[in-house]
């Protein structure tokens, strides 16, 4: 199955993650799927079921930077859709679930897939894929070929989410 970045109407399901598949797809049932994904210009990663087990960078995530990225409207802008234990910020959204306690509910590996490409897990998810450049349409020129967050920034946000116990 070939899926080009411009395939019309695609919501990039699990299999389609194998787009620019460099490595192997040890495809079993949908839930126990393993896929190596490489979007143009991005660090390759491996999806293992509901997880991306390996960090995207060698440098560990920094929770303090992660919190700033989480809030920043030009970066994560997570408060647009989520409520989080950040009382100093006004107006949290409620399109997605409250993230209080998410660090106890989910592991770093699970959080990584959520952030990198929530649609690989739930094709109908409304949550943007923060580390993805393929399969999008009508992208504003300044952002073509760029992910919403860079690899290190993803790791930083994960480190922050893990503090939400």
């Amino acid at each position: 199955m070939t899926v080009t970045p411009h395939t019309f109407g695609l919501r990039r399901p699990m299999i389609a993650c194998a787009t620019a598949l460099v490595g192997l797809t040890l495809a079993g049932t949908a839930s126990a799927e393993m896929a190596r994904v490489q979007d143009p210009g991005l660090q390759p990663y491996t999806i293992n079921g509901a997880e991306i087990s390996e960090p995207l960078t060698a440098e560990p995530g920094d929770a303090k930077r992660g919190k700033a990225l989480f809030i920043n409207r030009k970066m994560g802008n997570c408060l647009t859709c989520h409520t989080a234990p950040i009382p100093e910020e006004d107006f949290h959204g409620n399109v997605g679930p409250d993230l209080a306690g998410v660090g106890s509910r989910m592991t770093a590996a699970e959080l990584r897939l959520r952030l990198v490409d929530a649609k690989a897990l739930l094709p109908e998810s409304l949550m943007p894929s923060f580390y993805r450049t393929a399969g999008l349409r009508q992208v504003k020129k300044d952002f073509v070929g760029k992910p919403i967050l860079k690899a290190q920034e993803i790791e930083d946000v994960i480190a922050y989410l893990q503090t939400l116990k």
Partner: protein, 269 residues
């Protein structure tokens, strides 16, 4: 994909529209009943109280600065034919109800037009005058003056015959995700209507109040400007105002607004 998903939804929306009488008894106690039609409601319902207060009072609504200028233009001759709008139409009140049917296929030219494009068509073909530019004060004012004649009358778009392909194209657009954030109009204005994105309460994104005076713009603005803004917010390339894509989306959302009263000129934050 989108279109398939929508088949059922179209039927649902239609059923909801037909179900209006069922709500009629509640409607009496609802001060916002005039802004609803079945399950559909205008942005007035989710709007903030101070914007509503200004919209409720034509003396306070700054849109009328544009309307007053447009009323002068209505009787001003322009173009090689030396005619004004009034020379053909008489009093602007003669256009009562006209705006409720747009966008639609123009009988004379066979072209598909919204109110803005129809105004410019009159200027070019009847007056021999240059079309007003997209988002110019003249076009915003004249569009508002024309739509004002239908204020309170229900939107009533025909999506059959030559209009159908525009409707379909708009529906397809509305349900297709786009931009770096990969969101569709429907993700915000159908799936999440009533929810909050930070301080913004998501409405159904209805078109019946446009042109609208928006506090953020400090100016009257068109529906296509609003769509360009919504596209920009999801980091999607903005498309051409009065171009085919937004004209098609206008058709789809104007159909979705069937039964909602024309509210032009609305006021939003």
């Amino acid at each position: 994909m989108g279109a398939k998903r929508f088949g059922g939804l179209a039927a649902t929306i239609l059923a909801m529209t037909l179900a209006v009488p069922a709500f009629a008894s509640d409607a009496k106690d609802d001060p916002l009943a005039a802004y609803r039609s079945g399950e559909m409601y205008s942005g007035y319902v989710t709007g903030d109280p101070s914007s509503r207060e200004i919209q409720d009072d034509d003396m306070m609504n700054p849109s009328f600065l544009w309307v007053d200028k447009a009323a002068e233009l209505w009787t001003t001759a322009d173009g090689t034919a030396g005619k004004s709008c009034a020379d053909c139409h008489g009093d602007v009140e003669s256009l009562k109800g006209a705006a409720t049917k747009y966008p639609t296929t123009d009988a004379a030219t066979g072209k598909f037009m919204n109110v803005e494009l129809k105004i410019n068509d009159c200027r070019e073909r009847q007056m021999g005058a240059a079309p007003f530019k997209f988002e110019s004060d003249e076009l915003l004012g004249m569009t508002t003056l024309v739509k004002l004649q239908s204020r309170g009358m229900p939107m009533n778009i025909d999506i059959t015959g030559p209009n159908e392909k525009w409707f379909k194209k708009g529906e397809e657009f509305y349900f297709t995700s786009r931009g770096q954030l990969d969101l569709a109009c429907a993700d915000c204005h159908i799936t999440n209507e009533g929810m909050y994105m930070r301080a913004e309460k998501l409405s159904q994104g209805q078109p019946n109040g446009f042109p609208t005076y928006r506090m953020k713009w400090q100016k009257l603005g068109s529906l296509h400007r609003r769509m360009r803004g919504c596209n920009d917010n999801i980091r999607a390339e903005k498309l051409k105002g009065l171009g085919e894509d937004y004209l098609a989306v206008e058709t789809y959302i104007s159909w979705r607004a069937s039964g909602l009263p024309v509210e032009t000129p609305s006021v939003r934050k």
